[in-house]
Symmetry: D2
Subunit: 361 residues, 4 copies
């Protein structure tokens, strides 16, 4: 029962098979093979327009290099206070962009309060040189809280970017999970909303290592080519990523995997929802593959002892959490099975009964 992260699963068998199938034969290197080009065109079909695609080693690299493309001296990027680029990348976006600063914006459920965002961008836009200047907004879809921005919410954020003539970046480390959650097209969730650069993550959704920057304005590709190489991100045997993505996109596998993960998360959530709230309660019903719950510490100990693996999560001002409780995160992936859920159900409900008894004593 491994729910610590979707990073802890391996590779989906169909993607593994697709990768192995490309292991022999010779091709040109550094992103120039036929397969590389085919996959880039496939991205174009999926997003319904010409795009430029750059493979990178990590989601952190995708975020950092996408933002570097719009970086300017004194430039500031606005993102939610819990965004990966703000708190979980060890300063990589600042470092790799050579200059950008991240400005954190408050808001519940992993989403920026759009009025607050507008105020902060406006204040900086009106400041003199000492303050710097806004250059981009970064929105995370799926958010770090497991929530999904509606298209209307994305529109509201995009309007701020447009009004101040700055770029809009989307951190899509769990892009597919949001997509199937909203039931919209990739185009509708991105450039039709005003997104300029997308960090397209496939690693968490069943690949070994397949992260890409997608530029919706391919005329900027030539500039990113240099940013990409001088950041040491130009893979030689790039086909090893293309091979994964080729299988990933084949027959909608990527959406099937995301759908699977989301529904496993839903089942997991329902298991928690069935308990007394003193023992465990959801922060909300999951919208993607992540479940957040506030759990009694005794229960945490009990289910860990039975082999349930998951993460304690930093307390958020969004929730009221008692001293003997802890915010926890559970993540489903392609590798999560009905059997995992069923086992979890058993373990959790047993622990809940124990707690109930101990409280009664």
């Amino acid at each position: 029962m491994y729910f610590a992260s979707d990073n802890c699963a391996g590779i989906h068998p169909a993607i593994s098979a697709g990768l192995s199938a490309q292991g022999s034969g010779f091709t040109s290197a550094y992103g120039t093979s036929d397969l590389d080009r085919e996959v880039e065109l496939r991205f174009g079909e999926i997003f319904e327009r010409d795009v430029a695609v750059f493979y990178v080693s990590t989601g952190t690299a995708a975020n950092a290099l996408a933002l570097t493309l719009v970086a300017k001296p004194g430039g500031v990027v606005f993102a939610h206070r819990e965004a990966h680029i703000v708190v979980t990348e060890c300063g990589a976006p600042e470092f790799l962009s050579g200059q950008l600063r991240m400005a954190s914006v408050d808001g519940p459920n992993g989403k920026m309060d759009v009025n607050q965002l507008r105020r902060q961008v406006e204040e900086l836009a009106n400041s003199d040189v000492h303050g710097g200047r806004p250059v981009a907004i970064s929105v995370t879809q799926t958010t770090e809280s497991g929530t999904v921005h509606s298209l209307a919410e994305l529109d509201a954020i995009a309007t701020v970017a447009k009004d101040f003539n700055i770029a809009l970046h989307m951190d899509g480390a769990r892009f597919a999970n949001s997509l199937v959650s909203l039931g919209c097209s990739p185009a509708e969730m991105t450039w039709k909303r005003g997104v300029d650069m997308l960090s397209f993550g496939a690693t968490k959704n069943g690949c070994w290592c397949a992260e890409a920057i997608v530029l919706f304005d391919p005329s900027k590709a030539s500039e990113l080519t240099y940013i990409h190489k001088r950041s040491a991100q130009l893979f030689s045997k790039s086909r090893f990523i293309s091979a994964q993505l080729n299988a990933y996109f084949c027959n909608g596998l990527w959406l099937d995997i995301a759908q699977h993960s989301n529904s496993m998360a839903k089942k997991l959530a329902e298991t928690i929802a069935g308990l007394d709230s003193n023992c465990a309660r959801l922060t909300s019903m999951p919208q993607s593959s992540e479940v957040f719950a506030i759990i009694n510490i005794q229960t945490i100990t009990a289910i860990r002892a039975k082999g349930v693996i998951f993460c304690e999560w930093p307390a958020s001002p969004d929730f009221e959490i008692a001293n003997d409780e802890q915010l926890c995160r559970f993540v489903a992936s392609f590798a999560t099975s009905d059997e995992d859920i069923s086992c979890f159900h058993g373990v959790l409900h047993t622990a809940a009964k124990q707690l109930h008894r101990s409280v009664q004593c």
Copy 2:
């Protein structure tokens, strides 16, 4: 007949099988899985001492981050004028180290003239703050010219580093090819010579993507941990690299592959050596998997038309090359077969005969 680069081959079947075998099940991420730890220990056995190992996406990243570890404000790294870090990395070492400059040192056959190296290091060491200060020497083994430094040559370079109390880095993008060429142990070719940090490349020797920084002083690992992450090089599913290296090291596969490539290169060279020097001549007998030859332009056209794929190489002051000649590079890999060599032999000797006839006319 694909001799353009060892980057153009895919993955060795045994490594592919090893990778697939690790595709299922859950493990912890970010370099903390059991397999990650096992492979790090395996590196320690191979190098006969405790080492710290960091996976990175590219050889460029390995070089840049290894050098960043010893970077100081005003710092300068000395390397051969044709070294990858000097001319083929788009400024990545300078950029990712935040400050280092590369000083290029002349010398024939891809090797620094050690007297010249000493003079240049000494001059900078004696300069005032305006000049900066030396911080490292970087030696490439196998060199960009396909040659291999002898242990005595490495000693001579290491002595300069020691005399000026600066670090010694080895760019080992084709490490295994040198190792089998010298017939020495990994320890003898590295830390026993004075190497502090090694860029250990396995991608060119049959992996998909398996590059690592090996630190011979593991006490510096904690610092590199932050350099590594803020450079966006911390893979989440790190086991995908461990799985490749696990198979790579199993039963000496890595040395067998390098031995194969080197001997294919030798056969390829013998094919060229058998020709009239007006048509094609070796710059020297190969010491590793790369063959450099000066070839008549008509012959180049003729063998390309027959499907031989290889690179024209920038002219070097080391060789006399006529106007109707061109320096060319051929690289063998795990995927190079006796059949490739035999085909190449046929095509080349036919072209040579044609040239002979045309010259006679």
Copy 3:
């Protein structure tokens, strides 16, 4: 009546005379002249210990380079949310350090809430590599709100730095004003409290351009030498700064100037304190050369029309400010005269009477 900033005054006549007196004759350059050395020794006497001194062009440079000395990959500096390094330096500390991030800490009156500071430092110190690591705390003395930390308040901040083994930097752009306000010695306000690096500002206190980094551990000077030069801050005719500081320190001139500015500010504040609070009210009695007051917008217009020059200041959560009011800042300097204050008194009280009448109507 020019109260916009102490930057708007020129140079104190005695410092100007001292500068002119050093204009002829030859000396060695780049910080090596006899006068440069004398002034460095003078700093040592003033601070009662050996120090290393580096001249820089701006307070921003002093802050940025002092922090660079303790920068590490992934490093974070903690400072008040209104600190100059956080909001008024266009990202210079981040940029010039190559990597540092600024973490902003809340607290009233321009001072960090020390419990909040401790929590934030502790959280980052306990985080994994994704979060980064704390490397320094920066305290501003005089604060951006014109307040002065007591020695006990400095001790409390220094204790956090010590507990987490990180550096303590003091931004002393208005160092002298705090010093005379507290009536303590330079040593007591700095290294005896635990300050490691000081940005020593003299420009705002009557010099043309005299900013210095003071290192209380001079063994780190050799490293800063390179940071300083590669940041383009090594003045050739360094004696032009030494000449200013030589006069500045002569017979305690620097303290006399600061005393003068502080008492002018006090008089200015008393003028405001005498008014009806609907018209204008102090945020608090000034502790240094800066006066902050909340003023009715009609009054602002009226006194501006009469030639009073000052700055509107960004609203702070510390104060309740009505819609028809505005936070304003007035700064006194060596050039502020009793006549300026007396004029200001007349203009302000006339404007207050007008307002009183208009409100009655």
Copy 4:
């Protein structure tokens, strides 16, 4: 007899007087005072077109920030192998631009061989992403060898820049000395030749500290504004530089000073030229304020003992220098007097006689 550098002189009395005259009264800060604006307009008159002017602390800062304006990822700047930006700035241009690399071009007399320059630029322009790309050429006028490019030589360099569509920067640390040497107008020596950005140095020509970046395309000023501030180069009391330059430009003082220095250098050279070449010989007749001579080591010792102060200079491949000889540099400035020259003449000729005698023995 202080000929070590023009940096070792103080400030010209007329400039000192002009500076003192601006010491009282209030003005706005950060480059916005009336005097700041007047001096910028004065630059426009001098250069016969609208220009944007940014004050910086050092010539190194001027060079680095001017080049930053045209920096791009992977970008390379071409300059003479002895250029200040290449060997004397501790990596500041690389560091402050966040990315640029310097490529050194050979050529005698401190001037790039223009054919060699074209070959190097062309090779990089034709390279793939691994090599990077050319972004600028930097020419030093007066060169580090004291020579002056003719207008035709500047044209030849500018043509290379134009042909490859890259920027042309001029390092004018000793701009005025070249100007009076050529007898042309500032416009003719800069933008009429194709110069885009000029590092305008006045410090060496009689100011305390007055270095400026002059942009001949003022539409780029808004970008440089941010580069300038985030590099910590925005002086608060900017009028202290304007006041110097105001006096500097008044009645052609700047040209008079340069003319004086150049003629003092000529006299100094004539003193050397009168000697036996075994004792001392000029590398060439000076074109500006610097004299380079190859001097016998005994003579060096002898004249130093008599109080002649000057620098030994790194040997250049341009000259044949015996083992008992040393290349030396003598620099004249506003403060060099006929009496200094006359004293030098006496001391040198006495030393020459001693040498003559010792050689005869």
